[in-house]
């Protein structure tokens, strides 16, 4: 119970923190990979760098899924008891969905044909 109270505020920031992580890690790995030539190492149909980026993206999407389910469960409990925390859980849930949409949106960038062309 206390955890549902104390974590509510944290979860408001969590969804988009995952988004921000996805963003920074993708950006960082992309830069580093280009520098180290990972885009020239083919692995199956795609380059090593592209596989890596897709993997990172997918991992963050999965994390967002988890955040969403956590919020949903906590919302169910707190709303049933009419606790003031229900508001925060509801907002957090909406934020996790929004963050997922934003992650999909920036993920579209991975379809760019040339990863390292300046």
């Amino acid at each position: 119970m206390t955890s549902l109270r104390n974590q509510a505020f944290l979860f408001m920031a969590l969804g988009f923190t995952v988004w921000a992580l996805a963003f920074s890690v993708l950006y960082g790995v992309q830069g580093t990979g280009c520098e180290l030539g990972w885009h020239r190492q083919p692995v199956g149909p795609l380059s090593l760098l592209r596989w890596l980026l897709i993997l990172i993206w997918a991992a963050h999407m999965a994390a967002l899924g988890w955040v969403y389910w956590r919020c949903r469960a906590a919302l169910a409990v707190t709303a049933a008891k009419a606790m003031p925390e229900a508001f925060l859980w509801r907002a957090s849930m909406a934020l996790s969905i929004t963050a997922a949409v934003a992650t999909v949106w920036i993920g579209l960038a991975l379809l760019v044909p040339s990863i390292c062309v300046v």
Binding site: G31, C34, L88, L108
Partner: protein
């Protein structure tokens, strides 16, 4: 206990006013009260707006005709740089800080901000830092490299004089006030609310300010780090931005825009908060979509940190990264749109009144929407490449800033002026002022889209007859003078209203938020007793005998409707639920913030003039003075539960875990950690991206010194944790022993770091050496402060301020000790690890 309960409102007022008021005459300089300091921030910000505005007029006068000989290029560069700098740093940010300081406690049902002395200190830092810049301008030494100070233009080679230093040092000085305000706003919103005001019942303005303050907390540190690094490069030749020695000008651009784009939203969100507050009142209905607004401002805050590279689309960044940032830049339009729809929906379904503030709100809609549209255009990379650095960008940024900030703030001025002054207007000059500003603005800036598309670059001091922009520029300049007359009229109107207006009746707009439950102008203590809140519209409810909340509160029928032990008291609540948690004691007026800011000024000015010995002394004295703030502050005996009225009880803040000052340290460390991360990012960035790497020499740091540092840090962290364990807290000798161990641990770590620093060969040779040196200096400074804080804990314990119940001082210290251990270890990891991973 000496409860003096008074139900006679006049007597209660006198009792409260005696302890909350500020002395007249020179005593005014000692003010810490949020109403006074907030007002000062606002007035000072408008003074800087006047200065920035005059500079804007100089710009437009110069550009009105081709080949104008009015300002030469040197002066023109200073003028546009100072215009941008003053508007962004000395006007926009301090203005909303002042508004927040003035309003938040009143809206939340508290008697002051959480740290009144910090507000005053921030204010003086702002005034002194801003004055440095203005003095520079008067002496003709103002910064001239543009408001974003790109290197290498701002490096020593191309700006040999003091101009750039004035910017770097003056702005960093001002940023102290931004960071302190951020911490203070967050803690106030978290903790100092009326009981019952859970987060979902908070006025939207507070949500906006909460998010804004968090953005400031994470946005400003990169700028401060960038400024410090650039100043170090300029003063001591440590190369961070010089590509010949492993630096990279792009590092500056990253650090600057990592701050700079969020900055735009930091300015916009408080203005949007004004929209969401004023608009429903004038539309006579509650705002639509409260939760959606909260969601969208949080989303907006995060997204805005993922956009910074859109200012760098033309510097040569891989397509994929461009696509990321372009995507994020377009995405941020959605949360903006959500708020727009909430506002329009509220207007459409309410019964709007076309009062004066509403006129400015409508002005906002029109102007900001235009700015948003050109913003989306600029987020598209190919278009951006076309108009980069042209007057199209100037037009866009003014539509966003003037539309998204000035118009709402003028609405706020008219809306809350009766509250500030207790007076309402006799004349309607405001309407004329609005139309002059609105028409003048569009005349000035609509045309700049065209001159920009026609290829007129920004920041040029003149142009040729043949360019084909002559009459466009002339019209634009005429427009800007129309707008200037509008602002002058606005100023006159405000002055007239404050001095000669009619006495305003209470709550003239029929608002439902708590700030209108105070008398007008508000008394020093805001509320004679604090309300208990049960809904988002507290003014429509009433807990007392009459049906008027304001009167009930004035009669002392809420919480804390009495004076206890001559102390200034307000209530603290649990963050989320708003349940009553603690009685927070607040300080009254003192000169210490002013003196501390003066000494801080000595530090900054000595750095500017390169008197480094004086600077070092100034720094030490500043720290000493900051510690002195706590002298005589705290409780020497446990007080236990205290009555707060209405039959409820709460402990004093010194005896709870969630005391405001404990939160302040946590938040301060967040900001500090962001600065540290920026530094580490800088080092990695250079290593990966900058030319002329790997460096000529790789360090082989001493294992012995490193081991000493590791052991010291570990000991400090461990001992700090032990010192706040219940067993140690109960026994003075034991907790003091642990504190001594923590101090000694920091001492050992400091020694280790210093040895490592001295082993760095000539840091001016390469960015690798310079970055390593600065990283070590950063953690060494933290260890040194760790020694001081540990010793200070012992002093406090000896003086009787610590007990098993009263552990606040030590817990604050323990946070520092743990944090220092963490960043120290990370530094060692980087210094040992990076050469191994990246070296070959």
């Amino acid at each position: 206990m000496t409860d003096t309960t008074a139900t006679d409102p006049i007597r209660l007022h006198k009792q409260l006013d005696r302890i909350w008021s500020t002395a007249p005459g020179f005593g005014r300089l000692s003010a810490v009260n949020h109403t006074i300091v907030g007002r000062r921030f606002i007035v000072t910000a408008f003074v800087f707006f006047g200065i920035g505005g005059i500079l804007a007029m100089l710009i437009r006068a110069q550009l009105a005709t081709p080949r104008s000989a009015f300002l030469g290029p040197e002066i023109y560069n200073q003028v546009f740089t100072m215009h941008g700098t003053a508007m962004m740093f000395l006007f926009a940010i301090p203005l909303f800080e002042g508004l927040a300081m003035y309003l938040l406690p009143k809206m939340l049902g508290a008697r002051d901000m959480a740290f009144p002395r910090l507000s005053a200190y921030g204010y003086w830092c702002y005034v002194f830092g801003g004055s440095m810049l203005i003095i520079g301008l008067v002496l003709g030494l103002a910064p001239d490299g543009g408001w974003f100070m790109y290197t290498p233009l701002s490096s020593r080679t191309y700006t040999p004089g003091i101009n750039a230093d004035i910017w770097l040092i003056g702005i960093t000085f001002v940023e102290i006030s931004a960071l302190s305000a951020a911490i203070e706003i967050i803690v106030t919103i978290f903790k100092l609310r009326a009981p019952g005001m859970s987060l979902d019942k908070m006025p939207l303005f507070a949500w906006y300010m909460l998010v804004t303050a968090f953005m400031m907390l994470f946005g400003f540190p990169p700028l401060i780090v960038g400024s410090v690094l650039l100043e170090i490069e300029r003063a001591f030749d440590l190369p961070f931005f010089d590509p010949a020695r492993g630096g990279d000008p792009l590092l500056w651009q990253h650090l600057f825009w990592l701050f700079g784009h969020p900055e735009v939203y930091i300015i916009f969100l408080p203005a949007a908060g004004v929209m969401s507050t004023v608009l429903p009142v004038l539309a006579r209905r509650e705002i639509i979509g409260y939760i959606w607004i909260v969601v969208s401002i949080v989303a907006m805050a995060f997204l805005s940190f993922g956009l910074w590279v859109h200012h760098m689309f033309t510097v040569g960044i891989p397509h994929l990264a461009l696509a990321f940032f372009s995507a994020a830049s377009t995405a941020v339009a959605f949360p903006t749109a959500v708020q727009f729809f909430a506002w329009i929906g509220t207007l459409a379904s309410g019964r709007p009144q076309l009062k004066l503030p509403m006129l400015f709100l409508l002005g906002f809609f029109f102007v900001f929407a235009m700015g948003g549209l050109t913003g989306v255009m600029l987020a598209i990379v190919p278009f951006n490449w076309q108009v980069h650095d042209t007057h199209f960008v100037v037009a866009h940024l003014h539509y966003v800033l003037v539309g998204g900030f000035i118009f709402p703030m003028l609405a706020a001025a008219y809306y809350w002026l009766p509250h500030f002054s207790g007076r309402s207007p006799r004349h309607s000059l405001g309407i004329t002022a609005f139309w002059l500003i609105f028409v003048g603005f569009n005349l000035t800036f609509l045309i700049m889209h065209l001159t920009g598309l026609l290829g007129m670059p920004r920041r040029i001091y003149t142009y040729d007859d043949a360019a084909g922009w002559e009459w466009l520029n002339l019209v634009s300049s005429i427009g800007s003078f129309v707008m200037a007359i509008g602002f002058a009229l606005f100023t006159v109107d405000i002055v007239l209203q404050v001095t000669m207006g009619r006495r305003a009746k209470r709550n003239p707009w029929g608002a439902k938020t708590l700030e209108w439950a105070t008398a007008m102008p508000p008394p020093t203590y805001n509320f004679a007793s604090l309300p208990s809140v049960t809904s988002r519209t507290p003014l429509t409810e009433s807990g007392g005998k009459s049906d008027n909340l304001a009167i009930d509160l004035a009669r002392g029928q809420g919480y804390l409707g009495f004076v206890r032990d001559g102390r200034l008291e307000t209530l603290g609540v649990e963050i989320t639920s708003g349940r009553l948690e603690q009685v927070v004691r607040l300080p009254n007026s003192t000169f210490i913030p002013l003196f501390t800011a003066m000494i801080t000024g000595v530090f900054f000015v000595s750095v500017l003039l390169k008197f480094y010995l004086v600077a070092a002394i100034g720094f030490v004295v500043t720290i000493a003075m900051l510690l002195m703030w706590t002298r005589g502050w705290g409780d020497r005996a446990d007080r236990g539960l205290m009555s707060v009225g209405l039959g409820e009880e709460a402990p004093p803040h010194t005896e709870v875990t969630g005391a405001p000052s404990n939160w302040a340290m946590t938040l301060g460390l967040f900001a500090n950690g962001t600065a540290y991360a920026s530094l580490a990012f800088g080092m990695l960035f250079l290593w990966v991206v900058a030319p002329n790497w790997p460096p000529p020499v790789l360090l082989d740091p001493s294992v012995l010194a490193s081991a000493l540092a590791v052991v010291g840090l570990a000991a400090a962290a461990f001992a700090a944790a032990r010192s706040v364990a219940p067993a140690a807290l109960a026994r003075a000798p034991q907790r003091e022993l642990w504190l001594a161990v923590a101090g000694a641990g920091h001492g050992a770590a400091l020694a280790g770091f210093v040895v490592l620093m001295t082993a760095v060969p000539d840091p001016t040779r390469h960015a690798y050496l310079a970055a390593t040196f600065v990283l070590l200096a950063y953690v060494a400074l933290h260890a040194a402060l760790g020694v001081v804080f540990a010793a200070y804990g012992i002093v406090r314990s000896r003086a009787g301020y610590v007990s098993a119940l009263r552990s606040l001082d030590l817990r604050i210290g323990a946070q520092w000790h743990r944090y220092t251990a963490a960043i120290g270890l990370i530094a060692l990891l980087l210094i040992h690890g990076l050469p191994r991973v990246m070296g070959s």
